[in-house]
């Protein structure tokens, strides 16, 4: 080894690459020598939480990942399921939280770019994007800046590349004030025979680096995403990459031309930890080694060191493994799209990770140690004693009338209309969006078939803050309910786990509990987890986010013509409620807005009832008995009814027996109107369907009751609420508008 300084790492050296002293000692012991500076940087990137999952890996093993539909579970660039017709649906969700907190537009844009690459790397054409966003209170200027920047960045990338952004969710909560969350999900379709894997094989095979030239942007991005933010984080703006959606569009089309092409041995995109992360993982999956020559990589600027080339996170780059004799003809495919490609590496028979700079060998590490050798982290301490949750003081609620409460909730940032967001996203390109954003799940049809895919993301952090396991279970159920409301059957899950600093025992145990909750719910509902992402260290200056579980759900409906939507449809239809009525206000949006706290225990969940309710709704839609179905979620029954009125542009009158004589919100009415009891749908149907629906509900042992009827131009709950639809719409649509 020449021209590289061997270092005995100082604390400052270790801090720069985000390794602990103990990890460093383990590295030196395993190597039998001190690493050089480049090796130290490469290990730091690969051993970062973002790449190594050293904290979460021991916990993720409990997730159910198998099922008859599963073609590819966790471990590849994305998961894949069999949707019939010889097609695979490929999907994944991923976080881009840390970059977005520093530079919202580019952070979000490159988050979209990164998740798109994960999908087309597998040969699948991306057909839909969803985004799950969390910010601090919207009335604060900095939060408005982050929110506007992130929405613009998502649109800027997705609109330009021509993949529709069809859904997602958006919450505002104090816990995200210093750490916003940006989770992007992408869904693609590929013929099963063309599914491309990122597993290198064949010693002597060559590796092409295609797409953007390599610049100094994004160096240490993976490490940066694996430490807490602090006052100096803004200075890390150079660690945020800059996106070029046009280049990615060309790269995507070229790669899709090559899907299923026998000349392509493997394909791997460059994401976290850049060239070193992608080459190492590619070789490691295939049980071989790799030798990279940084001198062969085209650069955006002169004077870059091997360290910078290996760790750069410049966007829109892809690796292709091919036999030497096929390289020239593959390069011609990229040249047609005006894409540059360099042969930068060769596959080795032995499991080594070698880097050269021309004739100088500058790194030689055992591949196993690099990819799989990060010391795993167990619990930093025993489970902390959790104090019994405080009980909210209902008397603290303002003296709203039920009408006022309804309008206040509908006009709040968490329940208001998202139209101001999704109209900034092209949600129709592809001619496939058959349920537009604004309802429960969006639906895209699958070209050449009658299939539809219902897509949703969900995760209420108020519940997980109160009880991580229970809240995670609800997140799975809620995302499934969104999909079920369209008539689709939940098929598989991708998850994004956003947590604070896992070196704190309470955070670690919350992560443990949340994964346990996801496992429990997915097992009970028989929905496998096929891909996912963990984002830890969402913590700034000791203030961490509430545990946030985002579930991305894909559901399949065999005939898209039979889909159901959330808006009331026909005058005179019966409004019905599937599921229980209970006065559960803890953890609700009403509690947030009216009482200003998040306290108590999240709503009760009977997972068996949940399962039966799903089966009932799906069967009722299949039998064409329903005119609408809407998940009853945040804001409770009154909000769900108002939303179905808004979506259908027609009023409704209902009567809720439990309200009885409860006049005024403090005397129990609030819990019935705005409590967030689980396993519920608001449905509407023709009067003639009543008998058959009751029979069906009986067969599934599901509570079903008629509440009233669709019609008129007012939203009425007998002796309680009576508001014009126009006022309801005005409140709902004004929720996200900036007030002077």
């Amino acid at each position: 080894m020449t021209s590289v300084e061997i270092v005995v790492a100082s604390d400052a050296d270790l801090a720069e690459v985000a390794l602990t002293r103990a990890e460093y000692v383990h590295l030196v012991d395993s190597l039998g020598r001190e690493p050089n500076r480049l090796e130290l940087g490469i290990v730091g990137a690969l051993w970062s939480e973002h790449c190594s999952y050293k904290t979460s890996k021991p916990l993720l093993g409990t997730l159910p990942t198998k099922g008859p539909r599963v073609l590819q579970g966790p471990g590849e660039n994305a998961g894949a399921i069999d949707i019939g017709h010889g097609l695979a649906c490929v999907f994944k969700i991923e976080s881009h939280n840390h970059p977005s907190a520093i530079e919202p537009y580019q952070g979000a844009a490159t988050g979209v770019g990164g998740i798109l690459r994960d999908i087309f790397t597998m040969g699948a054409r991306p057909i839909a994007l969803l985004d799950s966003l969390r910010f601090g209170p919207l009335d604060e200027p900095h939060q408005r800046h982050l929110f506007d920047g992130v929405v613009a960045g998502i649109g800027g990338y997705g609109n330009c590349i021509g993949v529709p952004t069809v859904g997602g969710e958006l919450y505002f909560d104090e816990s995200y004030r210093t750490n916003c969350l940006v989770n992007a999900m992408c869904v693609g379709i590929v013929e099963q025979g063309k599914l491309t894997r990122a597993t290198a094989s064949g010693p002597g095979n060559l590796v092409l680096l295609v797409g953007a030239d390599t610049g100094r942007d994004g160096i240490h991005g993976a490490s940066f995403a694996s430490v807490v933010l602090d006052a100096g984080s803004a200075a890390r703006r150079p660690a945020v990459q800059v996106g070029n959606p046009f280049l990615e569009k060309c790269l995507m089309e070229a790669c899709l031309e090559l899907a299923g092409d026998p000349r392509v041995v493997a394909m791997q995109d460059l994401g976290a930890a850049g060239l070193c992360g992608s080459t190492a993982e590619l070789a490691h999956r295939g049980g071989c080694g790799i030798e990279v020559d940084v001198a062969r990589a085209s650069r955006r600027e002169t004077g870059m060191t091997p360290y910078e080339v290996m760790l750069s996170e410049s966007q829109e780059r892809m690796l292709i493994v091919a036999k030497p004799e096929d390289v020239r003809s593959l390069q011609a495919v990229f040249e047609r799209w005006d894409l540059h490609s360099d042969v930068v590496a060769v596959i080795l028979p032995e499991q080594r990770f070698v880097v050269r700079d021309g004739t100088d060998q500058v790194c030689d590490l055992p591949l196993d140690l690099l990819v799989d050798g990060a010391p795993l982290r167990g619990a930093p301490g025993p489970p902390p004693d959790r104090p019994k949750p405080a009980v909210a003081d209902a008397a603290a609620a303002p003296s709203w009338t039920p009408d006022e409460a309804l309008l206040a909730l509908l006009g709040s940032p968490n329940l208001g209309s998202r139209k101001g967001v999704y109209r900034r996203y092209d949600h129709q390109v592809g001619d496939a969006t058959v349920i537009l954003p604004g309802g429960d799940a969006a639906m895209v049809r699958v070209d050449g078939t009658t299939l539809g895919l219902a897509l949703a993301t969900d995760g209420n952090s108020r519940y997980t803050a109160l009880d991580a396991r229970h809240g995670a279970m609800i997140a799975v159920c809620e995302a499934a309910r969104n999909v079920v409301a369209t008539g689709a059957k939940p098929a598989a899950v991708t998850n994004c786990l956003n947590f604070a600093n896992p070196e704190h025992a309470d955070v670690w145990w919350n992560l443990y509990d949340a994964i346990d909750g996801i496992s429990a719910a997915c097992t009970a509902l028989d929905i496998p987890v096929v891909s996912g992402n963990v984002s830890l260290y969402n913590d700034t200056g000791g203030t961490g986010i509430d545990p946030t579980v985002v579930i991305g759900m894909v559901g399949v409906i065999n005939d898209v013509a039979g889909r159901c939507t959330a808006g009331f449809r026909d005058e005179g239809d019966v409004v019905g409620l599937v599921g229980p009525v209970a006065a559960e206000l803890d953890g609700s949006e009403y509690q947030r807005i009216a009482v200003g706290v998040n306290a108590g225990s999240p709503p009760h969940l009977d997972i068996d009832l949940e399962r039966r309710v799903h089966a009932f709704v799906i069967e009722a839609i299949e039998a064409d008995l329903l005119h609408s179905a809407h998940d009853c979620a945040e804001g409770g029954l009154a909000i769900a009814i108002a939303e179905s009125c808004l979506l259908g542009d027609i009023g409704a009158s209902v009567e809720i027996d439990e309200l009885g004589d409860a006049k005024g919100l403090i005397n129990g009415a609030a819990g019935i109107l705005f409590g967030e009891s689980q396993s519920r749908f608001v449905i509407s149907f023709a009067r003639e369907a009543l008998v058959r629906l009751h029979e069906l509900a009986g067969r599934h042992s599901v509570p079903l009751r008629g509440l009233g009827s669709v019609g008129g131009e007012r939203v009425c709950v007998t002796q309680c609420i009576d508001v014009s639809l126009a006022d309801v719409r005005c409140a709902h649509e004004g929720a996200l508008i900036e007030r002077e």
Binding site: P245, F246, K249, C250, W337, D426, Q428, V429, D431, R445
Partner: protein, 239 residues
Amino acid sequence: MRFGIAVFPGTWSDRDCKHAVELAGHEAVMLWHKDRDLQGSDCVILPGGFSYGDYLRAGAVARFAPLMESVIEFADADGLVWGVCNGFQILCEAHLLPGALTRNSSLEFRCAPTWLRVETVDTAFTGGCARGDVLQVPVSHGEGRYVADEETLDMLEREDRVAFRYVRRDGSAAEGETPNGSMRDIAGIVNERRNVLGMMPHPERACEPMLGSSDGMRLFSNVANSVSCTGAMPVAAVS
């Protein structure tokens, strides 16, 4: 008949246009930006997208593509050229149509349904419609505000060259309440010889009830009818 669909790097409505053309029962051929051959197209569609990334002005680079030389020759020979969204921007940059498309007055991208009133039936694209018909067609753009000097706008109106105006859902005048703030609510115009149409809304996204509207299909049918009546080259209509 045969629709030629231009594919520039960054074009993304090409596949949707192909889908709509085939749904209408016609043949679609893709025209690569580096080629000059229009492959016997009866009508050339310049679809939506961000050609060459549109990092300069939208459409400003695409007009120099080799394919555009053939498209301009084709238009000069009275061939039908139909620019949608980015295609409209390219036609203005190529001076096949007057005026320009600038950033939406909201300064935001807009994807939303719009309602278009047919202002002239004296084109191959609108020939089967009645003047005043209202079509529901979605828009999706960040730079769709049609601007031109007063003289040009007056000329367009005088020569009956405004093809579509944005109107309200009930067909009443939008009076500026448009997705982009276009001058005189203009959504689409034709050239002097009436064989080149530019429009910001996406008719290819409105060809099936399942997608919210099938009004866009009327435009594809109109083009096909005009070609089948007149042979490969439409007769230049008298204004």
